[in-house]
């Protein structure tokens, strides 16, 4: 286990698999080859700073700037695509370098070159420190890797009993509401706007006795029907009724032109024969 953990840390500190495999190359070339493996300019700077083989606090910023600018230059020479981050850092480092080399001007608004350099060192140290912690963290014994929880946990079975409460008022209200709905439904059902054939035949039979002369079908329809649906239904049923009456020989029908009015005349067998 210790072995494994150690190798985890190694992995972590030498994150680029290519880097460890290309020992025969010199540092700079290795860095460029592995540009893809870097996690941004700070990562490159941290890797470069290791080549100085001193504590990060004692690092030569000027040397680091030189190494970084060379790294960027070579990467460009090899036509490697560099993300903007790397170029911004290069520009800033070039600026820092010039500030460090030139005699410092007194300017209260700006940080001194030493302060800027100290900040860069701080950032590198901070990243380095968190990486060390990350490695330590990952090398800890982990649950599910080094230790295991109960493989077949016995769950707590919760049985829920439901209780219900209902008042008499709620019960009766529900029944009343149901009855109310039922009543409303009845009213709707009664609004049937259909005039049946039987009704029409009855009405026509009753009225035919009065129709001694030719009478228009309209005259047989009841007055004052406002329901349009019902009126249509009546007309249709009455028409069917006349056909029915003619068929059984109780009425004569005449229509003088297509779509013209339909005339009906009662045919009271004995009476009509007598008259004619």
């Amino acid at each position: 286990m210790t072995e494994k953990n150690d190798s985890d840390i190694d992995d972590f500190e030498a994150p680029n698999p290519l880097l460890s495999k290309s020992d025969d190359l010199d540092d700079d070339e290795r860095l460029i080859i592995d540009i893809e493996g870097f996690e941004g300019p700070l990562d490159v700077l941290l890797a470069l700073s290791r080549t100085q083989k001193v504590d990060l606090k004692q690092i030569s910023i000027l040397e680091l700037v030189k190494q970084y600018l060379e790294f960027v230059q070579q990467a460009r020479a090899l036509r490697l695509e560099l993300a903007a981050d790397y170029l911004v850092m290069a520009a800033w480092l070039a600026y820092l370098k010039s500030r460090l080399l030139l005699p410092e001007e007194e300017n209260e608004d700006e940080l001194s070159a030493e302060e800027l350099a100290a900040r860069l060192t701080y950032q590198l140290e901070r990243l380095n420190a968190i990486r060390e912690r990350a490695a330590i963290l990952m090398s800890r014994n982990q649950l599910g890797r080094d230790m295991f929880a109960r493989g077949a946990p016995e769950p707590v079975i919760v049985t829920r009993h439901h209780t219900y409460d209902l008042s008499m008022y709620e019960l009766l209200k529900a029944y009343a509401e149901h009855k109310t709905r039922e009543a409303v439904a009845d009213i709707r059902i009664l609004k049937k706007s259909v005039y049946t054939l039987d009704q029409a035949i009855n009405r026509l039979s009753d009225m035919l006795g009065l129709a001694i002369d030719w009478t228009s079908l309209e005259a047989f329809l009841p007055d004052g029907i406002e329901d349009e649906q019902l009126a249509k239904s009546m007309k249709a049923s009455m028409f069917s009724a006349t056909l029915e009456m003619a068929k059984v020989g109780k009425a004569d029908l005449v229509q003088k032109q297509i779509f013209g009015p339909l005339f009906i005349r009662g045919r009271k067998q004995e009476v009509t024969e007598d008259e004619e």
Binding site: F148, A149, R150, G151, A152, E154, P155, V156, I157, V158, T159, R160, H161, H162, T163, Y164, D165, L166, M168, E170, L171, L172, K173, A174, Y175, A176, E177, H178, K179, T180, R181, E182, A183, A185, D186, I187
Partner: protein, 210 residues
């Protein structure tokens, strides 16, 4: 590897496994020639008076909560629930129309009665099956229970207020008075011609709440 270490290994393997392990499977993790059976019975003895026991099930071994502590793993919870509108209405219909079949309830309500609705009412012990009606299909009829009467403070279902009383109490205010005569409970069969039933006959074979 000493005996104690072998015991620890078996203990850890059995603890971490998601299924019972055979002694053969355990032996694979131990030095050759280890007496797995002896280790297992030693382990079993070790847990004899613990809250967890090592048990042999179908020739395999597993840790299990001591049976006298199984109650720890069962929790009973009482939870008050509200009846749905459909359930309250169904309960009322059962109360007024009992004995009543599910199809009749559906006919009266004009909508289907989900299985859950009657289940909830039976869970609440307010509705119970009364027996099967002697008609084609032998449908189950339902009625109210003793608990129902207790819940609503009734001596008998006959004490449920009639429609006229409901109207007088203002429950039916929204109903057109001229239509009230349509609300009669007396002729339920007229509206259910497809559900032939003979009340005189059925009442003899069904328990009637008195």
């Amino acid at each position: 590897m000493d005996n104690h270490e072998q015991l620890r290994i078996c203990e850890a393997l059995l603890f971490a496994s998601d299924r019972p392990l055979s002694s053969i499977a355990l032996a694979e993790q131990l030095p050759e020639g280890s007496d797995v059976e002896a280790i297992l019975s030693e382990l079993q003895k070790k847990y004899e008076s613990a809250g967890v026991h090592l048990v042999e099930v179908a020739g395999k071994w597993m840790f299990q909560t001591a049976s006298d502590l199984a109650f720890l793993l069962r929790k009973e919870e009482e939870k008050e629930r509200k009846l749905s509108r459909a359930a309250v209405e169904t309960l009322a219909i059962v109360a007024y129309h009992q004995p009543v079949t599910r199809a009749e309830i559906e006919e009266i309500r004009g909508v289907g009665v989900s299985k859950g609705t009657l289940d909830v009412l039976m869970e609440a012990v307010w509705v119970r099956p009364l027996g099967r009606r002697r008609t084609p299909g032998r449908p189950m009829t339902y009625g109210t229970t003793e608990d129902f009467l207790v819940q609503f403070g009734l001596n008998s279902v006959k004490d449920l207020p009639g429609l006229a009383e409901l109207k007088a109490a203002g429950f039916l205010d929204n109903v057109n008075t001229s239509r009230l005569n349509l609300l009669s409970d007396e002729e339920p069969d007229e509206e259910q011609p497809d559900l032939p039933m003979d009340d005189d006959e059925s009442s003899s074979e069904e328990q009637v709440i008195s």
